[in-house]
Amino acid sequence: MPSLGADMEAGTLVEWLVKPGDTVKRGDIVAVVETQKGAIEIEIYEPGQVEEILVSLDTKVPVGTPLARIRSEGEATALAQAALIAPAITIAAVPEGGPPAGQPPVPPLAICPAEKRATPAARRLAQISGLDLAAIRGTGPGGAIVLADVERSVGAPAQAGRKRPAGLDLDAMRTAIAAAMARSKRDIPHYYLQHEVNVTACEEWLTRTNAARTPNERLLMGALEMKAVALAARRFPAFNGFYQNGRFEPSPAVHMGVAIAIRGGGLAAPALRDADRLSLDEIMSSLRDLVQRTRAGRLRSSEISDPTITVSSLGERGVEALYGIIYPPQVALVGFGKAVQRPWVAGGAVVPRSVVTVTLSADHRVSDGHAGALFLSEIGSLLEEPDKL
């Protein structure tokens, strides 16, 4: 954290403009820091490659704290910890006509380049909403980004008298979750089934497939699970659709709601549209996009209302099974626990296998346990042959 003024003690990291692996050169803007004097862009003074980000967003750290580690050109292996910026650069008032003779020129600290000029109110809302100012078109004085521009990007048109900005408002989100879940438990007679699925084949298939791929092209178990549920939902329409006005309407399309946890305690389940028709690669990239936009508070309203069935997966850091609450007006939720090593009987012998517990929460007004069992078994069968997904 550079000193951006003699009296500055700490700053809040509000935006990273680089990520590990990026190559940077002297003068690049790499981050935005919020100080008591406003948002200030941080330039880099050492060329090299960003190796690691050390300070996460919205963290306030004292002046002098390393923000990131960069590897200089020619520094092949050593993880030299280089401070991001030359120490103690103070913003000096440069008199008109340039710096006085005899003093070294003060490096220009671009406080706000013209193409990204934004008002304080706009910056604050963008920060709260996790929006990137670079992506917003300004309509204010001199093309500056003003509050209304950010509000449009958040998807909440300016309303007279509205106090709180929309976007990632965790309190409002908690209220919405509470209302939906209470309604679900009040109105929907849930039944629950569980099924243990051998995913060893999936894991082996993923290992083979990912071996030749770069990290950002790799597939995760979640993609296989989504595809299996999507295909099964197409074959079992009683689990895919909406229960509204006293009757069930199955949906011809499978829009898969994906439960995504949000840092700080929120949850959203936006739609992976037409999941049954997407390839695994398409599912994976859509999933990455959804997770990123959900955590940035940039979902489209249709993505919130579209899902016809929801999948919730606890992933590697979870527990073995989850029993979900259906998101009304949907009628089913499929839950995946984490994969665990279990003794498994195959061909008369006990062998170690990776096993995932898959659960179904379903609406008894629409389907019965018998149909639910067939649906859940179908998901299990699909996962045993990952190369057919």
Partner: protein, 334 residues
């Protein structure tokens, strides 16, 4: 019938409202007296005190020699001794001859005497340009006085305030300066027949609006209201704040408005550099920075001695088109 009949109103000028305020004070409290250059026989250089000599006599309406320092000092002494003097200085330019008395004596006596003495003195003076009185009679230096701790500075812009601020000022235990803009003396309007004292220390929202706060005082209030009307024609809803009191400033009213509109332009007939507008702008940045949705602007006087020539005088001070342009600039509209 549950409603009381509306009180009768009378039509009068700002000048007459000030005169009524002085007359009322002289009647209410026999410690009150008025002194200044030509306030008696001549009736005041702006005719504010016409008729008061005949009504109250030379003991209470006192013509003074042309010595601002001398009679302001006499007023300070009288106030310390228990009287409630009203000192009239012809214009703010001439008040500089009494600046030593005001700054070094009136504003400091309570402090220097360890609270043994106060100076309950009211000093009235004319301020502002627009009457072609040239560079030694036309300046707006009330912002300088608003810099001084130990005094209060008032700028009545309406008939109600011209009528009502004087008595409240006379109740203050410390010096109060009242600045009357010369362009307001002929302003005519209706005032309730029973109009009386008003509060000091608070600003007033003279026109509510949503899009921008136009902050002003004194003679510029009416130009600013005219500018707000012009802006309304372009679908810009401006809020107009009349500061009324320049020291202490009513930060709460200013910030409440700016936090609502998120934009501000300050209109101040003082010179731009080191102006009261500069102080208000800085307070907005200090207290409402994160609410702002546009650059804070100001319309001040050009940094020249106020010219005699009419067209140059008009060009030198804030006018409606300049206020409209500054408001639109803050909104990014052209």
């Amino acid at each position: 019938m549950t409603e009381t009949a509306p009180s009768a109103s009378i039509e009068l000028t700002y000048r007459e409202a000030v005169r009524e305020a002085i007359r009322d004070a002289l009647r209410r409290d026999d410690r009150v007296f008025l002194m200044g250059e030509d306030v008696g026989r001549y009736g005041g250089c702006y005719a504010v005190t016409k008729g008061l000599l005949a009504e109250f006599g030379p003991e209470r309406i006192r013509d003074t020699p042309l010595s601002e320092s001398g009679f302001t000092g006499a007023g300070i002494g009288a106030a310390m001794a228990g009287m409630r003097p009203i000192v009239e200085l012809m214009t703010v330019n001439f008040s500089l001859l009494a600046l030593d008395q005001i700054l070094n004596s009136a504003a400091t006596v309570r402090h220097m005497s360890g609270n043994q003495f106060g100076v309950p003195l009211v000093i009235r003076m004319a301020t502002g340009a627009g009457r072609q009185l040239a560079a030694q009679h036309s300046h707006s230096l009330e912002g300088w006085y608003a810099h001084i701790p130990g005094i209060k500075v008032l700028a009545p812009a309406t008939l109600e305030d011209a009528r009502g601020m004087l008595w409240t000022a006379l109740q203050d235990p410390d010096p109060v300066l009242i600045f009357e803009n010369v362009m307001l003396y002929n302003m005519t309007g209706k005032l309730a027949a029973d109009a009386g004292p008003v509060d000091i220390g608070t600003a007033a929202v003279r026109r509510p609006g949503r899009d921008i706060s136009l902050i002003t005082y004194g003679g510029s209030l009416w130009k600013t209201l005219e500018a707000a009307a012009a802006l309304a024609g372009e679908n810009i809803d401006a809020e107009v704040i009349d500061l009324r009191t320049l020291r202490p400033l009513d930060d709460a009213t200013i910030m409440a408005s700016v936090k609502k509109t998120r934009r501000a332009v300050i209109i101040d007939e003082g010179w731009r550099s080191g102006s009261l507008a500069a102080e208000i702008g800085m307070r907005i940045v200090e207290q409402a920075f994160w609410e702002l949705d546009g650059p804070v602007g100001r319309v001040c006087s050009e940094e020249v001695p106020i010219p005699y020539a009419r067209h140059l005088e008009i060009a030198a001070i804030p006018q409606v088109p300049k206020i409209v342009a500054a408001a639109k600039a803050a909104l990014g509209r052209t």
